[in-house]
Structure formats: structure tokens, C-alpha cells
Subunit: 256 residues, 4 copies
């Protein structure tokens, strides 16, 4: 039952992408990443990153994982492009998780700036994975602009509300020409399972593991959750019916 997918020509067998922020300590972070089975690990780029942190992330994780720097916190295309370029230097990768935030309160993406940054970074040779909203038109435009995947939000970053609009995610998956990675909002394992069932190629999460009471165990949960969802998606679920249907044979009941 091997089942892999590709982003920008790179084969991936794990469909779980995991973040590195907010763990109780570095050891729990490393253990959780191992338990998650993830191959792609996101790291945020900050000025301070460039003085040691990024290097230490490369040392810690760079040989075993695909590092995916993000532009978390940027609010204009200009800032995001600059951050992406610094990340490329620091982490020696042209992959970038592109975040351009429209406001600091909801942390929703700014689609217009995102498109602009995507075009610029694609032209500059980046493999761009934009964090976007759950809107099929924006997702299509990002793919048309050269995004290697699209990363629609399930619900606001860090909210743990899961997938607020499953129908929209399903629509996006059914129509996307590039891989769809659900990003943001995952709170627990069933949210990740559902994402894969809706047709997502993968799930990116951070807080749900890092801030769980037991991050290592939640990482194991997420690993199994993504596997469950992917199998279920491929297995072809039964339809939902509004009426009951006996599973046991109805002939030869005792006492009738």
C-alpha cells in the first residue's frame, strides 16, 4: 500500500508537515518530529535566526528532513520576498512556505499580496507553497502563478477549530492542479484524518502537537491520523444515508 506524492518533483511518502515552534523544549521537539514521521519540517525565519538559530536548525534537522522555511509574520509581498531570500541563504533551500498576513488579529492571508509575492519568488527560482484562504479561485490563481502546492487554511492559525468549511476544502481539492496541503487550524487527530478524506494531499500543523499536553504522543496520533485519512480517501467510503440499513442478514431471525 505504498503511496507517495510529489511537490516540485520531490517525492514524499509522509503526508504530514510539522512545525518547530512552541515546544516545551528542544528534546521534546525532536522526539515529536521523529514520532510524527514527517519528512518536511517548517522553521520560521527571524533576524535572530540569521545569527545562529537557522544554522542550528540546519545542523539539527537539515540532514534528515526537508526544511521548509516560512515567512510567518510578514504582511507585505516586499517583506515576504526579502524574508524568503534570507531564508534561502540561511537554510540553503529554495523551498518557501509563503505567508503574507492580512491582519495581525485574524492572521488571515492577504491574497493580493500573496499572489504578487508568489509571482516574484517563482520568477526567482523558488519552490513556493503559499498559505492561503479556503477559496477555490485564489487557490487556482496561485497555482496558475506557479505555486508548487497550495495551502488553504482549515481555520485561523492556532485556533484548533479544525476544518471550519469542509465543503470549500473538498471543492479546492477536486479542482486543484497542484497538491493541496491543509494548513492552520488543526486541533486534534480527527481534523487531520478529515483533511485527507476530503482529498488533501497532506496536512501542515504545529500548535496542535507542540502545545498538546503530551506533544510526543500527539505527534504519534497525527502520524496515524494522516495515514487513516489517506487510506479512507483511497478506499472509497460508503455514502451517507439519512435512513438506517441493517448490516446483518435479515433472513432466518430466531423466534420469528
Amino acid at each position: 500500500m505504498s503511496d507517495s506524492f510529489e511537490i516540485a518533483g520531490r517525492g514524499l511518502t509522509s503526508r504530514l508537515f510539522i512545525g518547530t515552534a512552541g515546544y516545551p523544549n528542544r528534546q521534546i521537539m525532536l522526539d515529536s518530529i521523529v514520532a510524527s514521521g514527517a519528512q518536511v519540517v517548517t522553521v520560521s525565519i527571524r533576524r535572530i535566526s540569521l545569527e545562529g538559530y537557522a544554522e542550528s536548525m540546519v545542523d539539527l534537522l537539515g540532514s534528515d528532513y526537508v526544511l521548509l522555511p516560512n515567512t510567518a509574520g510578514c504582511s507585505t509581498a516586499r517583506e515576504a520576498v526579502l524574508t524568503a531570500r534570507l531564508a534561502r541563504e540561511a537554510l540553503r533551500t529554495n523551498w518557501i512556505k509563503l505567508e503574507v498576513i492580512g491582519d495581525r488579529e485574524t492572521l488571515h492571508p492577504d491574497v493580493t499580496e500573496l499572489l504578487k509575492a508568489t509571482e516574484e519568488l517563482v520568477a526567482d527560482g523558488f519552490t513556493v507553497l503559499p498559505y492561503c484562504n479556503d477559496d477555490p479561485v485564489s487557490c487556482r490563481k496561485l497555482a496558475d502563478a506557479g505555486a508548487a502546492a497550495v495551502m488553504p487554511l482549515g481555520s485561523p492559525i492556532g485556533s484548533g477549530m479544525g476544518i471550519a468549511n469542509p465543503h470549500a476544502i473538498e471543492l479546492i481539492c477536486a479542482r486543484s492542479t497542484v497538491p493541496v496541503i491543509l494548513d492552520a487550524g488543526i486541533g486534534t487527530a480527527s481534523d487531520a484524518t478529515l483533511a485527507l478524506e476530503l482529498g488533501c494531499d497532506g496536512v501542515l500543523l504545529n500548535t496542535a502537537v507542540a502545545k498538546a499536553r503530551d506533544p510526543r504522543r500527539m505527534a504519534s496520533a497525527m502520524r496515524a491520523a494522516v495515514e487513516a485519512g489517506r487510506h479512507a480517501c483511497l478506499a472509497g467510503r460508503i455514502p451517507k444515508r439519512t435512513h438506517a440499513e441493517a448490516s446483518s442478514p435479515q433472513l432466518g431471525l430466531i423466534g420469528t
Copy 2:
């Protein structure tokens, strides 16, 4: 991370109970049961069962699995008790999944008859697992009457609607003095994951696997789903918030 539970003193490591009805053929059934990792396998008892089918189920499955005969299709305590006794003879087990159906259309349980049958079978030495509705009072009464576990429905049998009332299931789990096995309504993997997250000790399903397009793969999905849900339950999920919360550190943004 070993994690087992007990029903009537019997330790179980798998939290998935699986049915044997409705598969495309016997080989797919056997493969699916193996793929599911289940230890407890339900079989329905019919008159015809007593002339060969039950024996063949014992031959096929009896050495590797805990067989759990059910009284599917019974609509009175009298019928159910009679069926349970025949099942005990035929399958040489005193475990019984007790179904007493209140009407043939919704297949909802008849709680009054169920209680009566539970009392009678417990007195007769059975280990009784009643299929009941998602009502905390009925569940408590069944446990008080000696049920070894309670099996509230997620949604109508065969409907694939999942868990119609997660709050009720959570209430039942929080208060039950015996194991809670979600029974009926599971449609896909995320439903099973959710059941465990809500606090259920296990999940029983049949149609969701037997009638999936690829039963073997769906059985694998369910195995992983239950594992994911159990880990998530123990790991302690993050709270749901209505507002966003940045996962990445907010200091030292580039360009600020």
C-alpha cells in the same frame, strides 16, 4: 505506548471491533479483519447459522479472535434472550452483543426491552454488551444492570452519518462506570478517530468496511484511525479558540 483495556476481565489491545456481514466475499472479509487488527469479531446468529454457518465461523475465526455473537434483528427481550442462548451453544461463548430493535425502520434500540434482556442474561452468566441509544441515563441503567460495556449508537445502523451528537457521547464516556464502545453509524475513518477522542474505549463497525469500495484498505484506515484517536485522547488536545494565535515567534520579523 502500550495501552490496553478490559471487558469483563479480558484484556484487549485493539480498540476496534469489526463485523462479518456484507463483504463481497469471504476472502475479502478475512483479509479485512486481518488488516483491521481487530481482536473481537461480531457474527450474527440466524436459524440457518445453527446449521453450519456458526460452526464455520468458529472454524474460520474462533481460534484467532474473540467471537461476539449479536442478536441483530430481535425486537423483544424474549427473542433476544433466546437468540443469545442459541449463540452460546453454537459459538461456545458467553459474550453477547445485545440488540433489541424498537422498530424495523430506524433500527433504534428499545431501551425498556434492552434493560429487561440485560438483567435476564446477566443473571444467566452472560457477558452482555448492549447496543443502546446515546442517552447517558439509559447507559447508566444498563451498567447498573450488569452490562460489561455499553454500546451507544453514533447514528442509525448502516447510515454512515458518523457521530450525530458528539456532546452526548462525550457525556456518556465521562460518566460511565463500564467501557463505552461506539456502535453504529461509523462511515469513514475520521468518525472512528473522533469516537476515541471523545473518550470511547473502542468502536464497533461493519458496513463502513464491508461496503467500502476497497474493504481491505478501509480496514487499514480504521485500524490507524482508532490508534490516532486513542493517542489524541491521551495526549490532551489544545483548546479550541475563536481567535487566531501565532505559532511562530513574533520577535525579530524581517523588514520591521
Copy 3:
């Protein structure tokens, strides 16, 4: 568009039943009842009621409203039957909202005791409206036992969670031989509208109005909500589709 229904032969034009407990003061209670347009008003019976309160409720409301005493807080058939009889004396009505609570924490009904009390009170000439769970089998048994209506819960009393399992309520309405009044759990106007859309004949609520910031205005909201839901139910809603469908004509677009 006049549209009435009957309980035990009594025609009712308002489909909203309202409670009298928990208002900031008596004047707000009276104003709220007027604003709600309710014809049936519930009052709880307590020992102290029998020393003045019940009489004062009769004086206050008895000439303008159908008083519906309830047996709130009773936990056995015996207590409930006794309370109903005292209520009949005190309020000079044989209508009774029958509550038999299965536990003091969830306030879920005890279906077995409820059935017993229903049979006894029906035999004694009462018009019995039992508060029950959202289970089609229990509802049918109560109707068979002579209940004049059934009152399934939307969600736990006072929770304001609305209708936790709309499918179950819809099933009950589609099959009931007596009027169905949704009771318990209503939190806001859209919950009441939904109840009527699902096929309920009416809605009973108390806390949602009494504890709203502005009870009088919430009573107006509920009056309109019930009217909206009833009209919508009769008007025959459009089906839900998973895909968009243009409402405007597609011919002759400008610029094409």
C-alpha cells in the same frame, strides 16, 4: 395563512410555549410572555407553590393563558404522579408537562419511569406532555401510552446548545402520531426556527428568554422565529446542493 394545531382537542394558534422561571422580575416575565405571543405557559410546582405561588400564577396568568404545570425536578414516577395531582388541584387543570429526571447532573429524562408515569396519569384523566429524549422509539412508546404530545429535548436543559441532533428530531417528527414539541436546549432564535423547519409542531423554552440580556426583546425574537420556521416548513425549501447554481439568467451577458 392561518395555521393552527391541536393538543388533546384544544386548538392552539401559537406554536411557542414559554416558561415562567428565572426572569429578573415579575414585570419582565409578564411583558416577555406577552411579547412571545404564547398561549401555553409552564409553571413549576413546588411545596411552596401550594402556599400561594400557584394561586398567584393562576390569578396572574390563568385567565389569559393555558397553564401547563410541570413536574420539574422529580426523579421517580411516584414523585411525578404525586406532583401532577397536586398541580391539578392547585392550578385546576389536567394538563401536565411530565418531567422525570434520570440524573441531577445532565437532567436527561428517565425513559422507563417516564413511561410508567405517563400510563398512570393518562389512566387518571390527565393530558400528559412528557419531556423525553430525542429517540424515535421512546417517543412512539409514549404516544402509544396515551401522551397527548411528545417533547423531545434539543440538548440538555439550560445548555443553550440548540438542537444537538437535528436528524433525530426530523425522524421523530416524520413518524409521530401526536404533536411534537421541542423542549430544552433552545439558546437563540435560529434554534427555534430550525425546530419548526424540521417538522416540530411547536417549541417550549424558558431560559433562552428569561436569562437573555433583554428578555422582552428575545421573546419577540422567539415569536418571529417560530413563525418563520413554520412558514418555511410549509413553503417547501429548496434542496441543498453541493454545487453552485446561478440564480440570474445566463444569456445575454454584457461584454461576451
Copy 4:
């Protein structure tokens, strides 16, 4: 309890905006509009409109209603701007419901083109009400560009799925500097009630009434639904609790 709101300086007492497409016949359309209590009525502009239809709509409705032409079916800013200008000529109004569709299948808006058209039409003196997605950032940008109101979708046009992401709509309402009119997806009365409860200033719908089995009655339902939702929003609903809370006083129970 009078309660009005303003769009572009014009006071409105009805919070229901209704469309004119797809009714069984013109009389039912007119009756439904009357029954709905709407003051604002949308009409779509087509080439054929300009040869009689638009004039006839002005004759039919122009003296009693605020006509709101829409640019339904346009897929670029250029087409939409052209359509808006023709509508202004034909209907003698500078109000325009701006639709710029991103794809013909989902009918989701194209936010980038929408912003461009909004800016252009605002500069040209139009009162612009853009149909947009349920994204707080896009809504804010449209308001900043001079939109007189924003009209986020509940769910895809004509789908009848209601409000797919209530949290997003609530976020938008809490932060918007201009009125929020929920547009698209309304299927039945409770959807409209919910929109107002979430904080929307109004609701625009068409198919839910025009294609109901009885459009006139559904129009009455919607009128009451919007009133119910508005009152409930102002009345301040009770909080949702996960646990029950008795509404009746707990002292002096009979039989204790």
C-alpha cells in the same frame, strides 16, 4: 423596537434584500416581494434587459423599491464596470451589486478583479455593494476601497447550504467598518435568522424564495426570520454551556 440601518446615507428598515430571478411567473414574483417586506430588490442586467426588460422592471418596481442592479455573470473587472454603467443608464440608479465571478462552476468571486472594479466604480460615483468571499481581509480591503457595504457569501450561489462557516461571518461582522449583507447560499429561514444573529446587518437572497414550493409563503418566512435574527442579536443570547442547568427552582420539590 424600531431599528434601521444605513447604506450610503440611505436609511433602510427592512434587512432583507430580495432577487427577481427564477420565479414561476411575474405575479408570484410581485407577491413574494411584497410578502418579504423587502425595500431593496436586485435585478440582473443583460443585453436583452436594455431592450425593454430593465424598463419594465423600473415600471413594475421602481416607484416602491430601491432597485439594485447586479453584474451577475461578469468575470472581469472590465465587464463588470461596463455592465454597471449600462445598469446606471437603464435603471437610473448609481447603486450596484458588484459580482465578478472567478469561475463559472463554483461562482466564487474573484477578489482581485473585484477590488479593481470597486475602486473604479467608486471613483465614478457608484454606491458599490460587492459580493465577496467570507474572508475578513478581503472584506476590509473592499471597505477601504470605498465599498458602501460588503456582501460575503454564506455558501455557493444557489446551493442552499446556508452559512458554511459561521465563525468567519462572525469575525467579518465584528470587524467591518461598513454594513455586512450576507449574500448567497441561504436555503431556508433559519439560515437567515442565523446570519442576523452572527451580526450581519442584512441578508440578500433569491433562489431560496423563487424556487421554494410556495414562494409567497417562503417570502413570509424570510421576513419573519430576519426580524427574529435581528431581535435575537440585540437581545443578547444566553451562553452555550456543555452542561445542563435547571430552569425551574430547585427548592421545595414535592416528595423529597
